[in-house]
């Protein structure tokens, strides 16, 4: 698909004070935009940069400018800007969003590389870091670099992990060593701590662990028995106290009643029963028989007497309650004594059992009665501290074994982990080394390609000149630094800035930039050269032109702006092949009119238009015909090095040129396609064409250039004949296919840009 820019529309962007549309010829890979300084060329280039690269263009290189403030056309704001670009049938637009340039459908933007004249020297005359920055987007492999950085991080992390594991192993070794030394370094010097630990691991600690368990059980049971014994003692003492309290309560009750306490109690009970009877039968008939004594009673009197007697007996009753409470407490205490005794006996028997199986040199004969069991508890309690010491000692040896075992396992496990960690680190380091080397080698290869291509392009412009770029090198000691080494007159390793002329530095910078753009774009880019070619002499003009004609094949499109009229005039004179080039011409800029563009017409086309124009302007036609004839003759005399009068300043009249061409005119033959498909060739001898022109050249002077009464006598028909003769000669010389003149030496003839039209001879005979 054709991915050439078809048109770009600038609205209130830089010089475009009015809406400006620049249309590009889709059939031509190269478009020249010609305009004098200040006509708007850079505005158009900046607009392409604005859309395709979301960049402020040439303003980026200028100090004291802010894109948001200075990209809008004079009198307008950033929000007023809009740039639309159509490329390959698709449209994109760009505008400001705040201070940021935003393009539509950013992901699919056309690739455009822009080179400005100001940057040419920067490419060569820059620090290595600045040079790298200039070429960065062409050689940057930031994705791989980011992945390489992650690999570097992984390698560093793994080194840290390895250090930590090494430290852990060292600490385990130190710990084990300490045990070994504490034990007197057994086996030294033949054995080390690890050998010792390995042997220790084989030791059977089952018996020690069983003894610890037995001792723990014995001590637990001893403590339980002692506790039960103490509980029993406390219960017995409590029961004795309670018994004494019962006796005391009984004595008090007896003393209060004057009778035996037991009898007094019985009387109180009888009186309470009687009152209870009367309350249950609240209204017995007077004179009824008493149920106790069977004598007649008056119920009310009897009730009153009972209450009086019971009132008298209250104190005695309270004493009776206290006695009952004391009796109950004593009975409970006795029950607790019995319970605790049973517990003590059980605990003591359990202790006896533990003593029997402890094998700790304790009493061998085990008693069965309470006294014997109490004695056993006493005897074993005496040895309690010793038993605890034995248990702790045994536990200590088990703990030490566990620690040695733990250190030993940690050391052995660390060795395995260290092996794996070291292998991974080694792998990561090797991978990092490979990635780094391949990246540097890749960029060096790219740079070598760039260097070779730069030199090739440079040699096309400056053949046989001992200048060139020897090396482009990434500085391995610095990030993002690009070194350049040139040779001059056989001396290598020189800085080009010191020996090259400015125009040579320009050419070198241009070739370097073009080489990088070509190699990095893969053919899918638009290249924009903003006023890169300034003063170019005739020889270099042709070479640069040839280079552009050849290199445009490597890009979607090449757009060249220039303020040099030489390019425009050569285009108009068909000295630039038209099959590959189009020309847009900018008029002088005005604030009201903004940027105004028009298509540049070739001279013969303009002449024919004026010939057909009505009213007929004889002066313009005569003048244009004369200038066209002069440009053709000037070109031919240069191509064939025709003899001309030597004049200071090298200015020749039309008459000089006509005379100089007399010999050539007799020999000049054009062979060119006679039909559309180029199969048939026609051969045209140009002598008659020359004669027709040279006979009438005086019309140019008398009608087209000067005021002359003789000129007034020349008829319009003669002026038209002169103009048509010149147009016929121009048409005969130009290739019908590419529109260019045959000016490139090729074998026995000169060839045009498309090589279909040939002009011979090669040299004037």
């Amino acid at each position: 698909m054709n991915k050439r820019i078809e048109r770009i529309t600038l609205t209130r962007f830089r010089g475009a004070t009015t809406r400006t549309e620049i249309v590009f010829d889709q059939r031509k890979p190269i478009t020249f935009i010609f305009g004098e300084n200040g006509s708007g060329k850079s505005s158009i280039v900046d607009a392409i940069d604005f859309v395709c690269n979301q960049a402020p263009g040439s303003l980026a290189d200028r100090s004291s400018t802010k894109p948001k403030d200075h990209l809008p056309a004079i009198g307008h704001k950033a929000k007023d800007i809009n740039v639309e670009l159509v490329c390959g049938g698709r449209a994109w637009s760009a505008k400001f969003s705040g201070a940021k340039i935003m393009s539509s459908d950013e992901a699919t933007l056309p690739v455009a590389h822009v080179l400005r004249r100001g940057r040419l020297l920067t490419l060569i005359d820059a620090t290595p870091a600045e040079r790298y920055k200039q070429l960065q987007k062409f050689i940057e492999v930031e994705g791989v670099e980011a992945s390489e950085q992650a690999l570097r991080d992984a390698t560093r992390d793994q080194a840290r992990t390895l250090d930590e594991k090494t430290q852990a192993k060292f600490e385990a070794e130190v710990g084990l060593e300490r045990f070994w030394v504490d034990e007197g370094a057994p086996g030294a010097p033949d054995q080390n701590a690890l050998d010792w630990a390995a042997a220790q691991r084989a030791a059977d600690l089952d018996e020690t662990r069983a003894r610890i368990e037995r001792l723990r059980k014995l001590i637990d049971r001893l403590d339980a028995a002692a506790q039960a014994r103490d509980s029993l003692s406390r219960a017995e003492a409590d029961a004795l106290r309670k018994s004494a309290q019962v006796a005391e309560a009984r004595r008090a009750a007896d003393a209060a009643a004057g009778i035996g306490a037991t009898e007094a109690m019985r009387l109180i009970e009888l009186l309470r029963d009687a009152r209870g009877y009367l309350e249950a039968s609240p209204d017995p008939q007077d004179g009824a028989a008493c149920p106790v004594c069977e004598r007649p009673v008056v119920a009310e009197d009897l009730r009153r007497r009972i209450d009086a007697r019971l009132t008298d007996m209250t104190a005695l009753g309270e004493l009776r309650d206290e006695l009952e409470a004391a009796n109950r407490a004593h009975q409970n205490a006795v029950a607790i004594v019995e319970r605790d005794r049973a517990r003590m006996l059980e605990a003591a028997r359990s202790l006896a059992e533990a003593v029997g199986s402890a094998d700790e040199s304790l009493p061998a004969a085990l008693p069965v009665d309470e006294a014997g069991l109490r004695k056993l508890i006493e005897n074993v309690l005496v040895t309690r501290d010793a038993l605890i010491a034995r248990r702790d000692e045994a536990q200590k040896s088990v703990n030490q074994f566990n620690s040695i075992n733990q250190f030993y396992r940690r050391i052995i496990q660390s060795e395995e982990e260290l092996r794996e960690a070291a292998a991974l680190r080694h792998g990561l380091e090797r991978a990092l080394d490979i990635v780094r080397r391949e990246r540097i080698a890749f960029i060096q290869r790219v740079l070598a390609e760039v260097r070779d291509e730069t030199n090739r392009l440079y040699a096309l412009i400056h053949p046989d000149e001992p200048l060139g770029l020897d090396q482009l090198l990434l500085d391995e000691n610095k990030k993002a630094s690009l070194l350049q080494i040139c040779s001059f007159e056989g001396v290598s390793d020189v800085a080009p800035q010191a020996y090259f002329s400015e125009s040579h530095l320009d050419t070198l910078g241009f070739c370097l930039w073009l080489a990088v753009a070509k190699l990095s774009s893969g053919g899918d880019a638009v290249v924009v050269l903003d006023d890169v070619f300034t003063s170019v002499d005739s020889a270099h003009f042709t070479r640069i032109l040839d280079l552009l004609m050849a290199e445009c094949e490597n890009f979607n499109q090449v757009i060249i702006t220039t303020h040099s009229r030489q390019w425009r005039d050569r285009y108009a004179a068909q000295q630039i092949p038209h099959d590959k080039t189009a020309f847009v011409e900018l008029q002088s800029w005005t604030r009201g009119g903004g940027i105004r563009a028009s298509r540049t017409r070739v001279n013969v086309e303009a002449l024919l238009e004026h010939l057909e124009a009505s009213p007929f302007d004889r002066q313009i036609v005569a003048s244009k015909a004369g200038v066209l004839a002069e440009s053709l003759f000037d070109w031919l005399t240069q191509v064939y090095e025709c003899p001309l009068p030597r004049r200071r300043g090298g200015n020749y009249t039309l008459g000089d040129l006509c005379n100089g061409l007399k010999r050539l005119a007799k020999q000049l033959v054009i062979r060119r396609p006679a039909d559309g498909d180029g199969q048939a060739i026609e051969e045209v001898s140009l002598l008659s064409f020359f004669n027709a022109v040279t006979e009438l050249t005086w019309i140019r002077d008398q009608v087209g250039a000067h005021f002359s009464l003789r000129g007034a006598e020349v008829s319009d028909a003669d002026v038209k004949t002169f103009a048509r003769s010149v147009a016929r000669l121009a048409t005969a010389l130009a290739c019908p296919r590419c529109g260019g003149l045959a000016q490139k030496p090729k074998g026995t003839h000169f060839a045009c840009g498309c090589a279909k039209t040939m002009m011979s001879p090669l040299q004037l005979n």
Binding site: G143, A146, A150, A154, L424, G427, L428
Partner: protein, 70 residues
């Protein structure tokens, strides 16, 4: 100078070269080549990816050695 333009980005071209070199050196297994190249070029290869790729290759190599010993 190649006559056919290579339309891959510099990142993609370098990623392919790096991936091939790592596989040739036995540091990475060829089974994950496309994933490796894609991540390399996009700058998406993380530290854990690198550890996994290299550990997998080492593990595979050890397994082959062991099966060879048997």
């Amino acid at each position: 100078m190649s006559s056919t333009p290579d339309t891959r980005t510099p990142n993609e071209r370098l990623a392919e070269i790096v991936a091939d070199s790592l596989i040739s050196a036995g540091l990475i297994q060829s089974s994950g080549l496309e994933d490796l190249k894609r991540k390399l070029a996009a700058g998406a290869a993380k530290a854990e990816d690198w550890r996994r790729w290299i550990e997998n290759a080492q593990r595979s190599s050890q397994q082959k050695e062991r099966s060879g010993d048997e």
